[in-house]
């Protein structure tokens, strides 16, 4: 028997898979100059974005996660992008690395990366949304939590006020 929790876990896994594909294809487009290849990949990128929105919509509205979760998920719209993390000297964090933003608000963001990071680490974050209409942001923040999902590390970053 599938419980509500099983469904949520399954659709969250699908959302994670879609995000990984969005990151991959957008990273490639950003590095390419060949129009033919870019155009081929743009259609894939648009579809992946649509898939991700449909899954989030299902999670938020159909699986009735509750108002607070729905609000949190809605904040994710158009918030996908790449992130360069540079450790803040005083925090003694390890080397800088590249990750992805999957959820952005005024107070923090959800970070995803193939490289692990630890709670308490502090970074300067250069956030570049995939949506070209959204501005590039620079924030200072601290890792609040981190967990491993499949082959990715996902965590919460709290921005400095």
């Amino acid at each position: 028997m599938f419980t509500r929790k099983d469904y949520i876990r399954y659709f969250e896994e699908l959302a994670h898979v879609e995000r990984k594909m969005i990151y991959l294809v957008n990273d490639a487009i950003a590095q390419l100059s060949d129009r033919r290849v870019i155009n081929g990949l743009r259609k894939v990128a648009a579809d992946e974005g649509k898939h991700y929105s449909l899954i989030l919509d299902l999670l938020a509205r159909q699986l009735e996660l509750g108002e607070s979760n729905e609000q949190r998920l809605n904040e994710r719209e158009n918030a996908l992008g790449s992130v360069e993390l540079t450790p803040l000297e005083e925090a003694g964090s390890s080397a800088g690395f590249r990750g992805y933003c999957s959820n952005l608000s005024k107070t923090g963001m959800c970070l995803e990366s193939a490289r692990p990071f630890r709670p308490g680490e502090k970074y300067t974050l250069n956030i570049e949304p995939y949506d070209p209409h959204e501005p590039v942001l620079e924030r200072k923040g601290r890792v609040v939590w981190m967990r491993e999902i499949l082959d990715f590390y996902i965590g919460g970053i709290e921005f400095e006020a």
Binding site: M1, F2, T3, R4, Y7, Y10, E13, L14, V17, E18, K20, M21, L24, V25, D27, A28, Q31, L32, S33, D34, V37, G40, L41, K43, V44, D47, E48, H51, L54, I55, L58, Q62
Partner: protein
């Protein structure tokens, strides 16, 4: 981006799409899957999973065609 870097990226993309397809369909044949949902929602979820599967197959084809054309081309920089 060099030809080799592009081919690595395209193969990764193809691999991700091919790994995702069975994930979309793994529960569709199970009688109990979605049994906790209202009938209209069951239909909607099935339609979504089938759309994801169909479009992932289409993306895998796009990646495959790009891999073939890039491999054949004499171009070194993309």
């Amino acid at each position: 981006m060099t030809k080799e870097e592009l081919l690595v990226m395209l193969r990764r993309g193809l691999n991700e799409e091919e790994k995702a397809i069975p994930l979309y369909t793994k529960h569709l044949g199970a009688t109990l899957f979605l049994s906790g949902f209202k009938p209209e929602l069951q239909v909607r979820v099935k339609e979504l999973l089938l759309l994801l599967k169909k479009e992932s197959e289409s993306h895998a084809k796009v990646y495959g065609e790009l891999i073939a054309s890039v491999k054949e081309a004499r171009q070194d920089v993309y």
